[in-house]
């Protein structure tokens, strides 16, 4: 996802002089291409995220289209008030890009985990929250985000994620991308957890369970149309995310669901429980620890289905 972002932002900047790239002292060599293509429009703002968001706001107020990039917890939680007041209150066209979201950097310890960013940012008026599932969606989401005319949070994983989409899907912020159609369980996943979700869907189908799946990349605004159909047509709808079950995709769907009356399916949330990851270990280990690896997700949903 990281390289897809760097390539796409460089390509966009070559066509649009309003695009400025602000980095919190990361991605040095990654953006060499950008610096060549858009001289003077890369700003290393240092390890000063509150200032960086303010600077992006000031630029946007004068006509720029700034894209702000650093590690997810530092570009969200650390400078949440700047995002709220400087970006969202003013409804400015700034794209906030968090790299290493969720447990991507599990091995780096608690400071580098970001399992609450969706919950925090989606409560801000005027903010849009998009979690691309793979490098293909990163490119598509970024193209739309810089033209969105309002703040957008792009929640990225790290580098080296596999492509989910063999070719470019029809992508629109706020509209889920169906991946397969079944009838027992509908899995909706947000962001970098998608490979685990798809592997879990394969496991379930191997056990005779019919599964629908979608990349539910936009947590705000919710694709209510997709949800209405999903809840009518399945026994279980499962939200899958590398984020806390508090306030992420699962929490958002639960809020929506609480006011719906003609719903058939039950919601099962697969995500990080309300606890910190207490140990050393990489992303695969952390996912297993929290039960959001493919096998654990499949088991949980199989159990839920037999309990109905």
């Amino acid at each position: 996802m990281r390289n897809a972002f760097a390539e796409q932002i460089t390509e966009l900047a070559s066509r649009d002089e309003r695009i400025m790239l602000l980095s919190g002292d990361i991605g040095n060599r990654l953006f060499n291409g950008f610096k060549e293509t858009a001289p003077g429009r890369f700003f290393n703002c240092g390890v000063a995220e509150a200032n960086m968001i303010g600077v992006a706001a000031g630029m946007a107020m004068c006509g720029a289209r700034p894209v702000v990039y650093t590690i997810a917890p530092f570009v969200t939680t650390r400078c949440l008030e700047q995002i709220k007041i400087d970006l969202c209150r003013a409804k400015l066209p700034v794209v906030v890009v968090g790299i290493g979201a969720g447990l991507s950097y599990a091995e780096l310890g608690a400071t580098h985990h970001s399992c609450e960013d969706i919950a925090q940012l989606r409560t801000l008026p005027n903010m849009t929250v998009v979690c691309p599932a793979d490098p293909v969606e990163v490119r598509l989401a970024l193209r739309e985000a810089v033209e969105y005319g309002a703040p957008v949070y792009l929640r990225l994983g790290k580098k080296g994620e596999p492509d989910i989409h063999a070719k470019e899907p029809d992508f629109k912020i706020g509209r889920a991308i169906p991946l397969r159609q079944g009838k027992d369980i509908c899995m909706i996943g947000a962001g970098n957890i998608l490979p685990e979700m798809i592997a879990a869907a394969d496991l379930l189908e191997g056990r005779g369970i019919s599964v629908s799946a979608a990349s539910f990349h936009t947590v705000k605004p919710l694709d209510m149309e997709y949800l209405e159909d999903a809840f009518r047509q399945h026994e279980i709808v499962a939200s899958v995310e590398e984020h806390s079950v508090c306030g992420g995709l699962g929490g958002t769907v639960a809020e929506w669901l609480s006011e719906e009356t003609s719903i058939r399916a039950r919601l099962v949330r697969c995500g990080v429980p309300d606890t910190f990851f207490p140990d050393a270990g990489d992303q695969a280990y952390a996912r297993k620890y929290f039960g959001i690896d493919a096998e654990s997700i499949a088991e949980k949903l199989e159990r839920a289905l037999t309990k109905l």
């Binding site: 240092g46 000063a48 200032n51 303010g54 706001a57 000031g58 630029m59 004068c62 007041i85 209150r89």
Partner: protein
């Protein structure tokens, strides 16, 4: 500045102070002392700095002013009204539901407000972003940011202070209303704020120290902004509650609301009817 102009602007400042005191009394709104300390700065900025004309409010090349010490909104509103950004009669509705004149400034509430301020430490980073974009986009405009000394407690102020000289943002000017008080005590005791001018100098800024109630001196300082390769910090030595003897340097007026008799006494001192 000639003597006649100076007298004229001092009269403007007195009228603004009278409006602010009236607004505080009517709306029972606090931060009167913080408002009175920055009236002369605002007067110098809006009447003397080029590019602060209300007619240019939507010009992309206009100079920008960010009122970062948002708690002193009454002073900003009174100055904007006096300068013709909106009708003076509107000040009577300050604080009323639907008036657009909130106790901290709202963009869109009245013309001339660029940013929602009130949470401190937001204005300088945003002003820096404007200044940095002006450089890359080839705009000639200047950016002015007014902060309080208490605001310098905020870490984001110093993030911006570190970043601005590295970006050669000499089109950025910060004015610190150094009135020596913050909400609950002396600003140089609550944090090690002094020596304030030396701090900005050490961070790579040009620094001008000025009597923050001398409109002519403020005017000269503001007009010296730009073209030096460094951002400019104007440290304005001010008195909280300035202009009304029984409010000056008395921090009770951070929160106190003047009663009718105090309003009358204050107006008398200001030479207002």
């Amino acid at each position: 500045m000639d003597e006649k102009r100076k007298k004229e602007l001092e009269r403007v400042a007195a009228i603004v102070r009278g409006e602010v005191i009236g607004m505080s009394h009517r709306a029972k709104s606090a931060h009167l002392g913080s408002c009175l300390s920055c009236v002369d700065i605002l007067t110098a900025l809006y009447w003397e700095a080029p590019g602060m004309d209300p007619g240019d409010a939507s010009d992309p090349e206009r100079d920008r002013f960010i009122f970062s010490k948002g708690h002193a909104a009454m002073a900003l509103y009174a100055v904007l009204a006096e300068r013709g950004f909106f009708q003076k009669e509107k000040l009577a509705s300050f604080g009323e539901p639907g008036s657009g004149l909130a106790e901290h400034p709202l963009p869109g509430g009245v013309p001339g407000v660029e940013l929602a301020t009130g949470s401190l430490g937001h204005g300088l980073p945003v002003g820096l972003g404007m200044a940095m974009y002006a450089k890359i986009a080839g705009f000639d405009f200047k950016v002015f940011v007014l902060m309080s000394d208490g605001e310098c407690n905020e870490g984001s102020v110093w993030e911006a202070a570190l970043t601005a000289p590295a970006n050669r943002a000499d089109n950025l000017t910060v004015i610190v209303d150094f009135n020596k008080w913050q909400a609950t005590g002396r600003s140089c005791e609550i944090t090690s704020l002094a020596p304030l001018a030396d701090k900005w100098r050490a961070f790579g800024w040009s620094v001008v120290e000025v009597d923050g109630h001398d409109i002519a001196a403020l005017s000269d300082a503001l007009k010296s902004a730009g073209g030096t390769g460094k951002p400019l910090a104007i440290i304005a030595d001010t008195i909280k509650g300035k202009g009304v003897s029984f409010m000056e340097d008395d921090n009770n007026w951070h929160y106190r609301i003047p009663n009718a008799a105090e309003v009358e006494a204050a107006r008398r001192e200001l030479g207002l009817p």
